[in-house]
Symmetry: C2
Subunit: 149 residues, 2 copies
């Protein structure tokens, strides 16, 4: 559905404004989809993203700063986010021996297992992305890269 029907707004001030709102809206649309999937597993989208970052680094640990830099939403409160994941035994945390200011964070087997269960579900849900061809998907990414450049 075109963006002006989705949010019942016919008159955008410019193509640029329409584009920006379209990006924000589409992003929120994805988040709704993803949040619904993760609700069963009692995970938030943010927690899921952090777990994927940790899996990407595994078996090397990440520091809090590493995680913050790689996160989609940089504003998150990493300390308490990790603490919640630690309480559910999805990650471990210990002070980095080389630099005691830092904290080494590792995904646990339980965390890896959880992601493993979610992989096929996420895969299935991303079928909707195939409304675009591979070429169009590449083109969209390129335009976004250019926009932020």
């Amino acid at each position: 559905m075109s963006i002006h029907k989705d949010i019942q707004q016919e008159n955008f001030k410019s193509v640029y404004q329409k584009m920006m709102i379209n990006i924000l809206y589409t992003s929120s649309w994805f988040e709704d989809n993803n949040a619904a999937i993760m609700r069963d597993k009692k995970l938030s989208i943010t927690q899921f993203n952090v777990l994927r970052i940790l899996r990407g680094s595994h078996p090397k640990p990440c520091t809090g700063q590493d995680i913050q830099e790689r996160m989609i939403n940089k504003r998150s409160d990493v300390t308490r986010l990790i603490e919640r994941l630690r309480k559910t035994e999805l990650v471990t945390r210990e002070v980095c021996p080389e630099n005691r200011r830092k904290v080494d964070i590792l995904i646990t087997n339980k965390g890896l297992q959880l992601l493993h269960e979610l992989d096929p579900v996420m895969e299935a849900s991303s079928e909707v992305l195939k409304k675009l061809s591979e070429e169009e998907a590449e083109q969209l990414s390129s335009l976004l890269d250019k926009l932020r450049s």
Copy 2:
């Protein structure tokens, strides 16, 4: 900057995954920019969006449902969001006479004035969007529309 540098992720599973993460990331990037602008005025992005919806409808009131439908993030808690705006006298609220289940919400002059002050600032901040040509911006919007279709 290209998305794989931004989040230090070289290997995406597919162009589709890269595209999705790029949309989420770019959206968050916009939100960071916009939130910084609005902080001076003690407004959240969500509040700002609601005020713009109400301005679009003014002088006709919106119901809570109208607002929810037109919002970018549909998950918001409209009741308490409006209550906060009412406390700062940016909107008024009264039970709809025709259907007492509904609530008529109107932006106040103070609210209109606040938006008026923010217009040029938002305009200036959206200069960055002009990294893309008008044609490219249109193209990006179309691709997003097609994606959600």
